[in-house]
């Protein structure tokens, strides 16, 4: 690791320690009442303790399953749709109004509506996750196609490759890093939707359910915060894995080339 890299990691650790220390101090000094904000060490201890709680782990499993299913569904819908919209201008023009209307709708606002239609179960959760996750993947696919090299396309055409072959070998391959970045953004969005849907629907199993139920218990703040720590850790791990995957798969992406030469 470079000197600068080491320094950045050092600063990162320092920041975490400071934030942790501040939360701990505020609570222990009695500035905020303990039931409102338990000391950070207690929250962390509880979060670790939950790792041995099989009911809690089942909940995490349910959330992760819904998250993975919704995200996969979003990929299956958004990538082909993005290819279509990105490569056939007529279709793009026809769909633009619909897309521009649907995109800014906050997905969380759709939770009651979808719950009404599909009930408050996994189907609702997966549907909402998929809906929210479609957008970043869709737009990144379209954007990635637009960035593809006209000269590479011409070269392949001159070698006698047909339109489908050029779309597959140049455009889709070139758009892959953009699509992957879209999936990474969607992975975070999907986690938000998973937890939010569970919080609002309030029964069944899942991380959101755990948090919602802890909220009702007396002195539940510690459990609520421990659940939040788990949600954060989950997001962090997912993001880390995806960033690592992108680096391994696309070392040729323009922003990474300089590093590896």
């Amino acid at each position: 690791m470079s000197r600068r890299g080491r320094r950045d990691v050092g600063l990162g650790v320092l920041g975490v320690l400071l934030a942790f220390g501040a939360c701990e101090a505020v609570s222990r000094a009695g500035i905020v009442r303990r039931t409102y904000l338990p000391p950070a060490s207690e929250v962390l201890a509880r979060a670790v303790e939950l790792a041995g709680d099989s009911a809690f782990l089942d909940g995490i499993g349910a959330t992760v399953r819904a998250w993975a299913l919704g995200l996969t569904l979003a990929c299956v819908i958004a990538v082909p749709l993005g290819l279509l919209l990105g490569s056939v201008p007529v279709v793009e023009a026809a769909m633009r109004a619909i897309v521009e209307f649907l995109r800014p709708l906050p997905s969380v606002a759709l939770i009651p509506l979808v719950s009404l239609l599909l009930g408050s179960g996994t189907r609702t959760e997966v549907t909402l996750i998929a809906y929210a996750s479609v957008w970043p993947i869709l737009f990144n696919t379209m954007y990635g196609l637009r960035e593809s090299e006209p000269l590479a396309k011409d070269t392949l055409r001159a070698f006698g490759f047909g339109r489908a072959a050029v779309l597959w070998r140049v455009e889709l391959a070139g758009a892959a890093p953009f699509i992957a970045a879209g999936v990474r953004i969607s992975a975070a969005v999907a986690l938000v939707l998973a937890v939010a849907t569970e919080l609002l629907s309030g029964f069944g199993e899942g991380l959101g359910i755990f948090i919602a139920q802890a909220q009702l218990a007396t002195d539940g703040t510690r459990d609520v915060l421990a659940g939040v720590v788990w949600a954060g850790a989950l997001g962090l791990v997912v993001n880390g894995v995806l960033v690592w995957g992108e680096r391994r798969l696309f070392p040729w992406a323009p922003e990474r080339r300089a590093v590896r030469t």
């Binding site: 590479a152 011409d154 001159a158 006698g160 391959a173 040729w252």
Partner: protein, 266 residues
């Protein structure tokens, strides 16, 4: 035999080429020169079947060209954009062979053989973007040659390389032309290069509405040498003639260089 008959091309209202007629015998290395914006690239793309013909006709061995001709290869100036960065050097070169239904192992063997010819066998497994500009253009040339093209089109392929690398690649091209005997249409804005490489030099007049201003056979010996050939009196005379034609104003150029001079003086 490649023939252009009264070929005209335009982008909307903007006419780029007017009434260009040329026949290129098999195995000829034809250099097309002209000031920038004279439609050299348009001409090349039209022959490649990448642009539809607006007026006139392009025929190869008497057959009208309506799409991309068979056994064609193209090398563009911008190697960085025409090579696929996600494929290794070897796989870039092997890619066009997919069209010929060869199996993977055969494609790779052919590609490696071709890389050897351009002196890049040691870089076969690297990524194109890890190589220097000159090496990348060698990869593009190997990729073009691997299909054993009967027609090779080159659009200012050495335009962005340094002088030394360019000379090496010019000699590589001459050697390849001697051994493979493909018909080559080589577009350049470099007058020296056109005379050094060509069996024949065609000068296009300044655009818009470019036409063939001069069509000159190059009488230099087939075996060329960067130092000796460029010093020959024929080379110097021909270079001057091409240079005058390229610099001439659009209208006068059609009449010939002798008529062009007084007009420039005005």
């Amino acid at each position: 035999m490649l023939r252009l008959d009264s070929l005209s091309q335009s982008y909307g209202e903007h006419r780029v080429l007017r009434d260009v007629s040329l026949s290129v015998p098999d195995g000829q290395l034809l250099c097309v020169v002209g000031p920038s914006g004279c439609g050299k690239s348009t001409l090349l793309r039209t022959i490649a079947g990448l642009l539809p013909v607006r007026e006139g006709a392009v025929t190869i061995d008497g057959t009208l060209v309506t799409g991309v001709p068979d056994r064609l290869a193209v090398v563009f100036q911008d190697y960085g954009r025409s090579l696929l960065p996600w494929l290794s050097v070897r796989d870039n070169v092997a890619l066009p062979l997919r069209r010929q239904g060869l199996r993977r192992a055969e494609r790779r063997a052919e590609a490696e053989h071709m890389l050897e010819r351009v002196g890049l066998e040691a870089s076969a497994r690297r990524s194109p973007w890890q190589l220097s500009g000159g090496m990348q253009q060698r990869v593009a040339i190997a990729r073009a040659l691997v299909v054993r093209p009967s027609l090779l089109l080159m659009d200012e392929p050495f335009g962005s390389l340094d002088a030394r690398t360019r000379e090496d690649l010019e000699d590589l091209l001459l050697e390849v032309h001697r051994t493979d005997g493909a018909t080559i249409v080589f577009v350049t804005h470099d007058i020296d290069e056109s005379v050094y490489l060509g069996d024949r030099v065609v000068v296009l007049s300044a655009g818009p509405d470019s036409r063939v201003a001069r069509d000159l056979p190059v009488g230099l010996p087939a075996q060329r040498d960067q130092i000796a050939t460029r010093g020959l009196p024929e080379f110097v005379a021909l270079r001057a003639e091409v240079g005058r034609a390229v610099r001439a104003p659009a209208r006068a150029a059609v009449l010939g260089p002798a008529d062009a001079e007084p007009e420039q003086a005005r």
